[in-house]
Subunit: 225 residues, 6 copies
């Protein structure tokens, strides 16, 4: 139970991470059986935010960002900080200076189940952030915690090195060992969606394409004028 | 109590619907005696979203969009889908493919007391949506429900064929039989507001224009330096 | 306990108000010892909203804006209306016409622990507003209240003439008697941040700059591979 | 759209109302196809609260109980007041004096999507109340509204004369025209539950009684040690 | 802005405090013009909780109860601890040991805009507590704060020495300088309620007793069968 | 990613489980370094509820209790069902019949991040339940899920066979491999608390017992009259 900073973690293949990022949150979430989604209270600070990277997990005391500073000492370019707190907080635990430090070390983005501040500056820097609040409330740097241990963030279990994908629809986590299988499933899904999209744009109905008229009948739904 | 899809509904006059849309949510809401507003938790996916159309109502099981597919089979151009669930859900019950299908059939917009996903794509398509959440959480297509029956959506009772008006301020429903009266009241209100606006811009005070100095006095409010 | 409209209040020096506004919410909040922040549920209607001014406080009945009209009769150019209600409300208590009236009298912005409406128009006018809700729900003009008495707004105590600073991160209140001290502390903080920013952008670590390696050790945090 | 107090409403048969009350909220809700449940935010003031009666609907302005007083002028013994507000409120719109007045006129209970106060007194009187908040915040008696018009209360549409059933699990509304069918369905359900209860108490498994082993297999769920 | 523990505060007369306590929260709140009520999210830990006493105010860091310990060093018998945090927290900042310490020093109760724990033990001890959460989440004892400075607790401004009244309906604060006037108003209100109660129990209608038939007519409310 | 029911899990020693139960939630939570607490939204259905047992984890679709039935087929006496859903739900997924079935198989209690119903009956049966809602909303038995896989419940990661402790303060999970260490730490804590309790009851101050006068001085807190 000793608070610990783990320096070395295994990461997924960069090419695989890019492919998951290109697929997007909704597709990845479906491709892994509707698992791994963070709660919808996690919203991007600016609408164009988009990220895919390896999770460096951070467990902080509420209102204290000591461990975020510690985490930046062990990141590699392309990592995504995933921050949770030991009890709920909306304090602004991350701001412009930390964003500058992240950018200097190649951190690709931040996912934090707490608040952030200096959001105008973060938007100007183009540093993608998902948080559950925006708050100017500052923090201390005095309370211990851990880096790169398994955490729960916004209802999802995240282990160090898992792949994090974020976009306008939210954030999803893919366990590192599932990455290959999820890419296959995502590609299949995207190909199938492409075909379905063409048919729907041409005016075909979902009830016909997906065979739902039978489902409706089996469930006892009647049609009438 | 049989789940039912009603194919044919009465709709308001398209010209009347346009006039209500032009008046906007706040004015329409006032014009019908401050009734019919959906809860403020219903927010547009993109700020410029604006719609006016006839309600095609959809009652779904939570996390299941079978009945949205069924509804698209009975819409007419200009309709607005109004979706409620039998118990509360924030799942992403509507996404890009359904938006494409809606556009192919002339659906003017979506109002859903649940979540939506693929919001970047929906914004790019310009398909206006009001929802209570954004979530990548996908859905099944297996549970029965109804189309074009009276529903409650975000605290407001909506019947098929009622007029739905949505803009940056939210969503309001106008019962079909009230449309004519509401247009008259809205026009009167807009004309009056035009006159008041000119006086306020010229620096006259609301307390003078509306006769509020008397109200303040009657209520026992005192002025002092 | 008589409801009262106070016409004359003391205000801070305009140059001081400008300096606090330039420092921004996060810096001002830190500079006064992490006090005076309104709850993070208070959000700007448009992202670029930014204001600094003297508080004219308004206490309304929920869903009644009589006292906002009364307040506009006693404002001076540069003031910020700060509105609270005697019980919680999300009604749209302020809209375009009141915004026009505010602009005609030089009001610099609005902070309201309730709802607002006509948000598209307000954005077009560039009138900065922070509220806890957007709602078309209209209001009455019949219930008494007070202007320029001490109030609590979104969890912060606000007295007439206090300085209000608002930006993308939220809203903070500076007691009038603290203005000079806060400016000094904000300037020191900004200068220090400038130096820290340069070092962080150059890749130095926060754990080194702030001496956090010692803190981590003292708290029993261990590093391991 | 004129605010109206309707004196005369049709009510269900008292024996039928009693039978629905005996079945309880969960059974009645199932028996009418999982419809008509008020949101779970509606909680009884004391745990033993239980009621069944005919709805006298009341639409109030938020924080104003004028129309509750008006409603008591038109109730009959055994009625249940069902109160909603035109915008959200948690004010204590009903207290001990109104409870005494209700008891004097035979009102069987209160369902209110707002707050109540004097809860210790109400508990001592044994007057059953379901509300979404407890708050000492008092109200005015000045704003118009309606009695015995269709309303939406806590997400459910309620018409005057509908049957209201409340217990520890919440509140459900049965449309007056559905009462006979719901009683039949409730009786069937209760009989079936009685048989199932005996089997479950004897240690039979739900997966066997309900044939769920097949469902699990069809859905691809596997068993393993 | 130095964190400070103020040892000596002025208190109201014990007899006056008792009279406010006997009147109860709802009556006191009305008697001072519907002001001073804490938000309804503040609930008693056990239903029979009831208190009246002088406020000893405590401002803590979230999740840190150092200053509660400090406050017990300056209390007098009959005081009520009123605790707020510099940012929002639901942590269990007060438990059985602190309750024992409070009882040993005659503290009459606790009002805390945060969480508490050991609620079974607190109930057994009969120590009355109002909080916004129950949580076993423990706290540190390391962060500075203040005792007996003006604070905002659950939306109400509280100064040291103000009178706190709590019961099943919530918590209200009476500024020390208003105590005498509020007692007079509360007595008048109680006497009037006594007369009204008798008439309502005898079956007279509120619309007649309060003259509301005229109000209804003036507001345009019509009666019909 | 196949949905799976795991029949066999490792469990902690029954005597150890009893010792954790006797220590209670707050003590166990502290003893394992303030980890493992479920969110405070998880509340017992009746105040005297108290449980300690081995977690049988259940992952359900929202509003579908198929997998709870499946779980009862693999429980052993003394187990606690811990139920989570793939997206948020407040539906009443567990009621009297399931409680009877649980009792027949020796299940010691239920922790569910969703709703329950038949709460009066559950209270009468003395079957302890912690949930985030009470709702009569019924459920289907058609959607796949898993039993005895790692889940996240109310913000805490729970693995099959972990020890669950619940009481009036909430619910805490102890990883099976930590049980022995937590018991030692809990015993030490209880012994220490016993000594501290005696001193506090005798009137000693926490600031003296815990050495907090120094902490206050170091943090710059001043005492004044």
């Amino acid at each position: 139970m000793t608070p610990t900073i783990v320096r070395t973690i295994a990461r997924a293949d960069p090419g695989d991470i890019r492919r998951l990022g290109a697929a997007g949150v909704a597709t990845v979430h479906e491709a892994q059986g509707q698992r791994g989604l963070l709660r919808p209270s996690m919203r991007p600070v600016f609408p164009a935010a988009r990220v895919a990277g390896s999770a460096v997990t951070v467990l902080c005391a509420p209102g204290d960002n000591l461990m975020i500073h510690a985490a930046i000492a062990v990141v590699q370019p392309g990592d995504v900080l995933v921050v949770s707190t030991t009890s709920e907080s909306t304090d602004g635990m991350f701001g412009e200076l930390l964003a500058e430090s992240c950018l200097a070390h190649g951190v690709a983005g931040l996912v934090i189940e707490a608040g952030v501040r200096d959001t105008a500056e973060m938007t100007a820097l183009g540093f993608p952030v998902w948080s559950k609040a925006i708050s100017a409330q500052g923090t201390s740097k005095t309370q211990p915690g851990s880096v790169n241990v398994p955490i729960v963030c916004a209802g999802a279990a995240v282990s160090p090195g898992d792949v994090i994908v974020g976009d306008a629809d939210g954030v999803v986590v893919v366990p590192r060992e599932s990455v290959a299988a999820v890419i296959v499933a995502a590609d299949q899904r995207l190909a199938k969606e492409e075909r379905t999209r063409a048919r729907l744009k041409a005016g075909e109905l979902g009830v016909d394409i997906y065979g739902l008229r039978d489902v409706l009948a089996q469930r006892g739904v009647i049609w009438r004028d």
